[in-house]
Amino acid sequence: MKKTKVKIFSLQAAGLLLITALLGACGSGDTTKENTEAGKSAATTVTIKGSDTVLPLAQQEAEKYMQKNAGAAITVVGGGTGVGISAMQEGTTDLAMASRALKTEEKLKLRGAQKDVKEVLIAYDALSVVVHPSNKVSQLTREQLEGIFTGKIANWQAVGGNNEKIVAYSRETSSGTYEFFKEHVLDKKNYASGILMMPATGSIVQSVSQTPGAIGYIGLAYETKEVKALSVSYDQGKTFVAPGVEAAKNKTYPISRPLYFFYDAAVDGKVKPFVDFVLSAEGQKIVQETGYVPLS
């Protein structure tokens, strides 16, 4: 059990930053444990766990926060929204990062575990739909995306591309991105069973960049030159909007979502300074710098 968890973790982080992150992943796997143990003695040690989408942001925020407050120690670990929320329920993390709101099932579970959970909206994120750079297609409607990810559209020809099979990449089911995309793009329909599931956003970027017929979805902050982001239309093709911080901020880009911190009210005193820092003008500036959309 323990071993599996450590393994999942190293995979997630590893996928993000490829080999450079590999060493870090093994290393931080240990430090997390140490820090959770140390957390009992030093009140300034905070562990944050959850969504891989929020991970780069939380890392930046934590770094700046620790620079300003000597003695504060913050450990940030990824794993997926679901992982963070179950860790919070078990009390193994102080803050849970989430890229979606709590599900009813989770609310019931947390209520059952006698947890009074506080929810803090920290930023917005936009999802980019990406394809291989050589792909002719540069825009799709929501209906076409739904067709592609539910398996009804299987060839790029059907949406104005070359005669090539569509290879759709998705995140694993533990990802908040997976749920969000299903709810907001697939109209709550289920993904096709033949879809390829990747353990981390980094793996999706890697795979899409080396597969000519590929399509996948990633957080805006993960966009690189190796993949091409598509413009998306939510009004049957009348207007297409390209993903970007500006477009997400003025709400013209349709696939954007809120990012949250969740924590147990019992650890309020411990995490409050950090949460306040994230919501401060300085913290929101970091949000913008990291490629996310600030609250105001």
Binding site: T4, K5, K7, I8, S10, L11, A14, G15, L18, I19, L22, G79, G80, G82, V83, S86, E90, T104, E105, E106, L108, K109, T150, E164, K165, I166, V167, E172, T173, S174, K188, K189, N190, S193, G194, I195, L196, M197, M198, P199, S203, Q206, S207, Q210, T211, P212, G213, A214
Partner: protein, 401 residues
């Protein structure tokens, strides 16, 4: 006196050894017990996501729906009640989020205290409605009819072809694609690794001189020490694009990529075990063969291989065991699509990869959690069969002598 202490020391050592033996066996038994206790729990659960109510109007003649039908309905592939044995009328779906389309916020109450009542009204009013909502919003005097789904059965679980463990309102737990995916990848791995491993073993045991052997052996043993995530990276960055180019495939994450990586990982086991077996061939037998005028190659395939055949089979079986249980490398290179594989050039999803990828998300004690433990049980049984085969084969080896 001295002798007494000597005896005492020996007794303590014996007791310690016995204790560690007992502790180890108990731990193993406990783990197996825990695995099966959690895993078998799946068969007493209904596929409906925990805390969800599925309800229809009381006039609706449809008494039961299967999990598969529910999925098709919510994907809007089934849109008429006729297709599931009801009247010829369109199915009207209702989810809790749709509540705002029927009622204003005032009608729902400030703290949503009127929600149960409003849901009740909607269902009573619409004869063609199929509603999914959390059971906390079930009104006390509910006028609709709740649909109950049959518990997940063993044939459904083992024979089902769709793996959707997190969907609402009802999950689909078919593990057949996962079992076949695991066996398929392992089979491919052994197909690649056995000839190569055997050739290397023969070379090292019989042909290489001791200097070459002294270099080769540690190198091969080093292969066993590389962490599997490194193999995974190698696979994702090198093997996957290579397969895509060579076969002109739309996607490189395939069973073949998994087989190649697993084959490399199984090589050290196959080589060392079969080499050891070959080296136990008595010198007298080899020399007798050579003295009769047989060439070196003839000696190898007429004397050494038949003599060590059970050792070689053990090596192959242990190699399969290594391949079946491998998690990380496979998770990274096989694409993890839960479809039944027809060729090696298709993405597959294996049992260990599924457990690793999903266990973190599954709420403890829930249906998804139990299903993953049941997958663990299946994996355990597969490896148990393999280990028993190893025992059987090595027992035969002793008989032969």
């Amino acid at each position: 006196m001295k002798r007494y202490f000597h005896n005492l020391g020996e007794k303590i050592i014996v007791a310690l050894l016995a204790l560690s033996g007992t502790v180890t066996s108990l731990t193993v038994l406990l783990i197996v017990f825990f695995l099966f206790k959690e895993g078998l729990g799946i068969f007493s659960l209904s596929p409906v996501s925990e805390g969800t109510v599925i309800a229809v109007n009381s006039q609706n003649p449809v008494k039961e729906l299967s999990a598969h039908q529910l999925k098709e309905i919510s994907d809007q592939n089934i849109t008429n009640w006729q297709e599931v044995g009801g009247p010829n009328a369109p199915i009207k779906l209702f989810r809790i989020d749709d509540l705002t389309e029927y009622f204003s916020e005032e009608q729902l109450g400030k703290d949503f205290e009127f929600v149960p009542q409003r849901i009740n009204e909607v269902i009573a009013k619409e004869p063609n409605m199929l509603a999914f909502f959390p059971d906390e919003y079930l009104a006390k005097s509910f006028q609709g009819r709740q649909l109950q789904l049959d518990n997940i059965s063993v044939p459904d679980f083992l024979g089902g072809t769709e793996w959707y463990p997190t969907i609402t309102p009802a999950v689909q737990m078919g593990v057949l694609p996962l079992i076949l995916g695991t066996l398929w990848v392992s089979f491919g791995a052994i197909l690649l690794a056995l000839p190569l491993g055997l050739a290397t073993a023969i070379y090292m045991a019989e042909i290489a001189n001791s200097r070459v052997r002294n270099i080769l052996k540690p190198v091969i043993e080093l292969l066993a020490g590389i962490p599997s995530v490194v193999y995974g990276f190698f696979g994702l960055v090198v093997v996957v694009p290579l397969i895509q180019d060579i076969f002109g495939l739309p996607v490189g994450e395939t069973a073949l990529a998994g087989s190649i990586i697993l084959g490399i990982m199984a090589l050290p086991t196959i080589i060392s075990v079969s080499e050891d077996a070959m080296r136990t061939t008595p010198r007298a037998m080899k020399e007798a063969s050579l003295a009769l005028g047989a060439s070196k190659w003839q000696t190898i395939y007429k004397v050494i291989i038949p003599y060590s055949i059970s050792g070689i089979s053990t090596a192959a079986i242990l190699g399969i065991g290594r391949a079946i249980g491998e998690t990380m490398a496979v998770l990274m290179v096989t694409g993890n699509a839960s479809v039944i594989p027809n060729t090696f050039l298709e993405p597959v999803r294996t049992i260990p990869a599924t457990i690793a990828a999903e266990l973190g998300e599954a709420p403890q004690g829930g249906i998804h959690y139990k299903a993953l433990f049941a997958l663990g049980c299946i994996l355990f049984l597969l490896t148990l069969i393999i280990n028993l085969t190893v025992d059987f084969v090595s027992a035969k080896k002793k008989e032969n002598r």
